[in-house]
Amino acid sequence: MKKNMFMLVLISVLLVVLAGCGNSASNTNNASPNSSASSEPEATGESPATAEPVTIKVAHWSPEADITPILEAYEAQHPNVTLEYVELSDSGDSVAGMKKLDLLVASGEDLDVAFMPGATDYSQRAGLGLMTPLNDLIAKEGITLSDEYSIDPTIDGNIYALPDTLENYFVLLNKDKLDAAGLAVPTEWTWEEYLEYAKKLTSGSGPSKTYGTYFHTWAMYWELALINQAKNNNLVNEGTVNIDSPEIRQSLELRSKAEQDQIAVPYADTISQKLAYRSEYFTQHAAMIVTGNWMIGSAGGSEEFPATFTTAFAPMPSNASGQPSGVSIANGNYVGILDKTKHQQEAYDFIRWYSTEGEQMQNVYSAWKKQDVDKFIASVKETALSPDKIDADSLAFVIKNALPAPLSVPPTYQGELEEAFTKETELYILKQQDLETTIKNAQQGLQKIVDANK
């Protein structure tokens, strides 16, 4: 009994000591940014009007070297603000970046500004209460969001982030193959014509076969005839599950037809080999891909995938002739302010600047309505490794004639919906169940998720 007591005391003493260590360690951690911030005033003291210096921590998954020039430009304009960059991924991987962000937030890191790659990640984190609503700050500045940005980030009346880059979708075509097959770059087309193109572009056999097209594993490739709709273009719109619809049926039939005619890279290869769309396209394994703006720069070649052929651009196909081509849901990166920040106003000023002028500096395709498209294209060509491999005429046509559909920000459980949906569509394309069963099961599965999240 005595021994037990002794052990208990010993353990609790050790625990207290350890906890003490932990506390003091975290104290010093907390202190360091503060102390560095307070040592700043001498350096930045010359700006008279502004208040005391603040440090804003900005988290993004881009490599530090890409972001630093922009942050430095902002610091030069705002001497009282010090921006500290938190690199979420060393390879520019946004999925890994989001995991790191979650871990940092969970471990109490005092971040101020965070970027999120796409509406799904944005709504998930807004739904968890991580982001602070910006409504008051926007009202204070006196701007109308829809005049400034082409994406509406409102969730249930609250705005938790500003749109950063703009992503809409179009088709990338291998122009060399197109010329060889005697096909023109389409400016107006339907999915049916897309499949015809794919058929004509398919050539060769064996491992070096060129397929007409490649569909990646993302959920959007199972809803191609839905994401080119101007309205109600999500799996679940305002609580109503949208699976049992002509658009989803058409999307699935489109995929199945391409698979059966062997004009698209077989789905079995795609999943078992974990194929990536960049390598499929740039190694000329697939002649066309449906993709988004982030590939404009890559079309001019990158270190990993140099451009060996000319890339042309075509608008998103429509579902039937008579409907406009080029409609696609607009997605993009979002930038928000974390709920725990102590510098709301300064952080807001920064994200407003970043999502407008900062974007212009980086030459990304942004959701800011005042961006100069011609300047953007010119600079894309300037920075590309092989500028002559980008077909500027078709690129200009696609960008200027794009009809970004207003994105209804997806529900906070969008990730789960997509997972449940692709599970059924996989069984369909691998010929484990027919179309009707797929539609029925997916409709039920998604309804269950919607009900569980009510």
């Binding site: 021994k3 002794f6 052990m7 010993l10 353990i11 050790l14 625990l15 350890l18 995991k99 979650d102 937030v105 969970a106 998930q124 984190r125 968890l128 209460g129 991580l130 064996g206 491992p207 077989p266 789905y267 079995a268 290869d269 999943i271 078992s272 080999q273 974990k274 459980y413 990730g415 789960e416 997972e419 599970k423 059924e424 996989e426 069984l427 691998l430 484990q432 599965g445 569980a452």
Partner: protein, 286 residues
């Protein structure tokens, strides 16, 4: 005596902080609705709701089922390892070289091994299917891309990877069997098969028991191979509880729900191990 506690103190402390407290925490979390990215003030106790939801969750039930199917890989792997161990220790030249060969997959990184097999299993141009179609098979299975074959393919790889360990341990077990037993049996006129059945097998039962317990626990927790090879797909056909838990906790950010999955996994493992300890009385000879 007091000094004794002082010596085990650091270890005890480590176990408490890194194992015991997280375990209790996770147990508590399984009764809550909570996401680890939000603060502690957002924890909401919901009683047994998580467990109720679990037993209506198709993906979880499928994953649990896959776990039990995958257990088959353990006894199959052990039988192969035992046969190889007997052959290698008695009937081949350079047994050391063979041990190294069979141990190779174990010391290679799971990721590298998985990528190699991914290519071997390539549905259209892979060597495996090339061989099968050369034999005259019209429609060879698509292996990792076929919902019916993906799980057996993964099990095949597991057996192959874990073969080395079982082989080495069986080999050590074989060395411990006194040679005079075999001598006496030979003099009595026992056949090789009778010797194997009445001497080798019974004297190896402690080894078999050890391999079975560790193998089943390891098998239940397999994650890396599945993550790299199939991501639980196609259509959850290779998803297991640990993978589903990872997906729920770190992708869907539902920490509470994921914790309740862990509790079920823990109970399953506890029950299986308890059964084995009770069962060993009837077949293990020390």
């Amino acid at each position: 005596m007091r000094m004794g506690y002082l010596f085990v103190g650091p270890m005890l402390l480590g176990v408490m902080i890194f194992t015991l407290i997280p375990m209790i925490f996770s147990f508590t979390l399984s009764f809550t609705k909570w996401s680890f990215v939000t603060g502690f003030d957002k924890i909401k106790f919901i009683g047994l709701d998580n467990f109720r939801a679990l037993f209506q969750d198709d993906v979880f039930l499928k994953s649990l089922g896959n776990n039990f199917i995958m257990l088959l890989a353990v006894p199959i792997g052990m039988v192969i390892a035992l046969l190889l161990a007997v052959v290698i220790s008695n009937h081949v030249y350079a047994p050391g070289a063979f041990k190294v060969i069979y141990f190779m997959p174990q010391i290679s990184s799971v990721v590298a091994v998985a990528v190699v097999w991914q290519v071997l299993f390539h549905p259209s141009y892979g060597p495996v299917n090339g061989f099968l179609s050369a034999l005259g098979m019209d429609n060879p299975p698509k292996w990792l891309a076929d919902p019916n074959f993906a799980l057996p393919s993964v099990m095949l790889l597991m057996i192959w990877i874990d073969l080395g360990v079982s082989l080495i341990i069986y080999n050590a077990g074989l060395k411990n069997i006194p040679a005079d037993l075999y001598e006496a049996a030979t003099i009595d006129g026992a056949s090789k098969w009778a010797q194997f059945r009445s001497i080798t097998l019974p004297l190896l039962t402690p080894t078999t028991f050890f391999l079975l317990v560790t193998g089943i626990i390891g098998n239940f927790k397999s994650f890396a191979l599945i993550k790299v090879l199939t991501d639980g797909g196609p259509a959850h056909s290779t998803s297991v509880v640990v993978y589903d838990m990872y997906q729920t906790a770190f992708v869907d950010l539902q920490t509470g729900y994921a914790s309740s999955m862990v509790m079920i996994l823990f109970l399953c493992l506890l029950a299986i191990t308890a059964l084995q300890w009770i069962g060993q009385k009837f077949w293990v000879n020390y």
